[in-house]
Symmetry: C3
Subunit: 243 residues, 3 copies
C-alpha cells in the first residue's frame, strides 16, 4: 500500500471509531459557529461542549478527548480561556486543532494565533490567506483549505478534491470541520489521517447533500443528514486524493 492508501485506511478507522463511541470535543469557537458546530459533532456521533468562560473552559477540557481553538469572534473571555485550556490539553496529551479565522484582518488575532502555535504542536487548519499571514510555523499537521484542500504533514503531503460549491454558502462549515478533525484526532494517533478523514467525510457528505439540495438552506439540512447517514465504505470509495 502507498502512503496515501495507508492514511486513508487510518482515516476510515478513525471515522468508524468516532461513530462507535462518544468522543467529547471541547470547542472554544466563535459565537456564529457554535450551534452548527455542535450539530455537526452530534450528527457524527461525537459529543460537544462549548463554554468559553475562562473559569470553566479548563475543567471542560479535562472532561474532553480533544480541543478546538477557533479564533472567530475573539473576545476577552475567549482570549483568556484558550491558553489555559490549551496548556491543560497539551499536558494531558490531547490533540488540539487551531483555526485562525480571518487572522489576516486583525493584528490582535494574528499575534494571538502565533502565541498559541508557539505553545506546542497543533493541527493548524486555515485557508491560504490565513496561512500566508501566519508564515512559517511548527505544527503536527497543516491543512490549507481552498478549491482543492491541502494536507501537509510528516508522511503525507496531498490534496483532497471532494466537496460541493454550496458548502461555501453555509456559514461555519469550515469551523465545524475543525471540530470534527479534533474528534477524529482523538481516535487516531496520526493527525494527518484525522485531517484526511475530516475532509473526506465532509466532502462526500457535501456531494450527497448537493445532489438533493435546492439552495443553501436545504443544503445545510441535507448535509447534516448525510454526515449521519453516509456509509463509511462510501466515504472511502469516493474520496479523491490528488498529489
Amino acid at each position: 500500500l502507498g502512503q496515501q492508501d495507508r492514511h486513508l485506511e487510518q482515516a476510515v478507522a478513525a471515522i468508524d471509531a468516532v461513530r462507535r463511541g462518544p468522543v467529547r470535543v471541547h470547542c472554544l469557537t466563535n459565537s456564529v459557529a457554535q450551534n452548527f458546530t455542535a450539530n455537526v459533532l452530534l450528527a457524527c456521533g461525537a459529543i460537544p461542549s462549548m463554554t468559553v468562560s475562562p473559569g470553566e473552559a479548563p475543567d471542560f477540557t479535562d472532561a474532553a478527548d480533544a480541543l478546538l481553538l477557533n479564533l472567530g469572534t475573539l473576545d476577552a473571555d475567549r482570549r483568556a480561556a484558550m491558553p489555559a485550556s490549551l496548556d491543560r490539553a497539551l499536558a494531558q496529551g490531547k490533540q488540539v486543532v487551531l483555526d485562525p479565522v480571518l487572522c489576516q484582518l486583525s493584528s490582535i488575532r494574528l499575534d494571538f494565533a502565533k502565541q498559541l502555535l508557539a505553545s506546542g504542536r497543533l493541527i493548524l487548519k486555515s485557508n491560504r490567506a490565513e496561512a500566508d499571514a501566519i508564515g512559517k510555523t511548527e505544527t503536527c499537521c497543516q491543512m490549507i483549505t481552498g478549491p482543492v484542500d491541502r494536507i501537509e504533514a510528516p508522511g503525507l503531503v496531498c490534496g483532497v478534491e471532494n466537496g460541493h460549491p454550496l458548502m461555501d454558502k453555509v456559514v461555519a462549515m469550515g469551523c465545524a470541520l475543525g471540530a470534527l478533525i479534533a474528534a477524529l484526532a482523538a481516535r487516531t494517533n496520526d493527525p494527518a489521517s484525522a485531517a484526511l478523514g475530516g475532509l473526506a467525510w465532509f466532502g462526500v457528505a457535501g456531494e450527497i447533500a448537493g445532489a438533493k439540495a435546492e439552495g443553501p438552506g436545504s443544503f445545510a439540512v441535507a448535509f447534516l443528514d448525510s454526515l449521519a447517514e453516509v456509509q463509511t465504505g462510501t466515504i472511502a470509495d469516493r474520496t479523491r486524493i490528488v498529489p
Copy 2:
C-alpha cells in the same frame, strides 16, 4: 379522574393558552441554544427575549411572563444577570425554570446552581448526573430527563415515555424544552402540569418529526413544523404517562 388525568387536562389547557395568546419568556440561556430556543418558542406561539446583559436582563424580566435560567456557557454577564433577574421574577410571582446544564463538570457552575435554588422555589429541569451533583433541594417541581423523563412534584410523581432518538442528535433540544416549560408555567398555576405539558408537546412533536426525518438535519426542521402544527388533541391522545 386520577391524579395523572387531572394534570394532563391542566397541561393541555396550558398548551392551548400558550397557543392562543402571546406569552413572553425571558431566556437567560447559553449562546449555543439561543437561536433554536427562540425558534421553538415562536413555533409554539410564545415570544422570546434573550438579552443576557446584566444592565438589561432585569428590565426584560419585568416585561416577561416567565423566566428561564440555563447555566450552559456561564460567563460573567450571565452570572451577574441571573440573580438580579431571578429576584425580580420571584418578587412579581413569576414562574422560573432552572436548567443547570453539565453542572457536574464545573464547581463554579454547581455552586451557582445551588445559590439560585436557595433563592426561592423554582422548577428544576436536569438530567440524572446533574441532579445527583446538586443533591437534595427544595423546588416546586423537579424534572429528571432521560430515556424515560421523570416529574416529581407535590401531587404528581410519574414518568413520560414520549420522544424519538433523533432528539438527542439536535443540540439545545433540552435547553429549548426548559423555555417552553417556562411559557406553560406562566399559563397554569401548577408547575407539574407545565412540566408534563412540555414533555408531552415535545415528545409527540418529536415522534411525528421522527417519522418524516432522514437524519438529524431534517429532523430538526420537521420538529419545529410539528410543534406548530400538531393538534392539542393529538398531544393529549398520544401522551404516555407511566408510574
Copy 3:
C-alpha cells in the same frame, strides 16, 4: 417614470450588484441572530463578518463595504465596539444600518440608540414601538416594519406589502433584513432604494417559501433557498408598492 418606479429600478440594480460581486458587511449584531444573518448574507451573495470584540470590530469595519448595528443583546463588548466602528464607517463614507431592537424595553438601549443616531446620518430600521420610543430623529432613510412595511426618505415615501405570516415565526428575520439592506446600500448611492430592495427581496422570497412550507422550520429552510434562487426579474414583477 414615477418616483416609485425609479427607486424600484435602482433597487433591482442593487440586488443584481450584490449577487454579482462580494459585498462585505460587518455585522455588530445580537448573539441570537448572528448565524441566521450570516446565512442570509451568504445566500444573497454577500460576505458577512461578525466579530463584536471592541479591539477587532473597527479593523473588520475597515475591511467591509457597509456596517450593521443591531442592538439586541447589547452587552459591554457591543456597547464599546459600536461607536468606534460607526465612526470608522462614517469617516470612510460607508453606509450604516441601525436596528434598535426592543429599545422601548430598556432605557440603556434607548439612550444608546439615540447616541448612535446623533453621530451621523444612518438608515434606521425599526418597528412602530421602537420608532415611537426614539421619537423624531435625523436619518438618511427610516423604515418602519409592520403588517405593511414603510419607507420614509427624501424622495420616497411608500409602503411595501410583500411577505408571508411565517416570517414572524422565524427568529432574527428582521435582524437579517437589516444586514441585507446594508449590503444593498453599499451598491447604490440611494439608501431608500436599498431599503426598498431589501423589503422586496425578503418579501418575495418569503412568499415563494411560504407556498412550499409546512411550518416555521421548513419555511426558514425554503426562505434561504428562495433568497438564493429567485430571479431578480421575479422580484421586480412581484413587488407591491403602496402609497
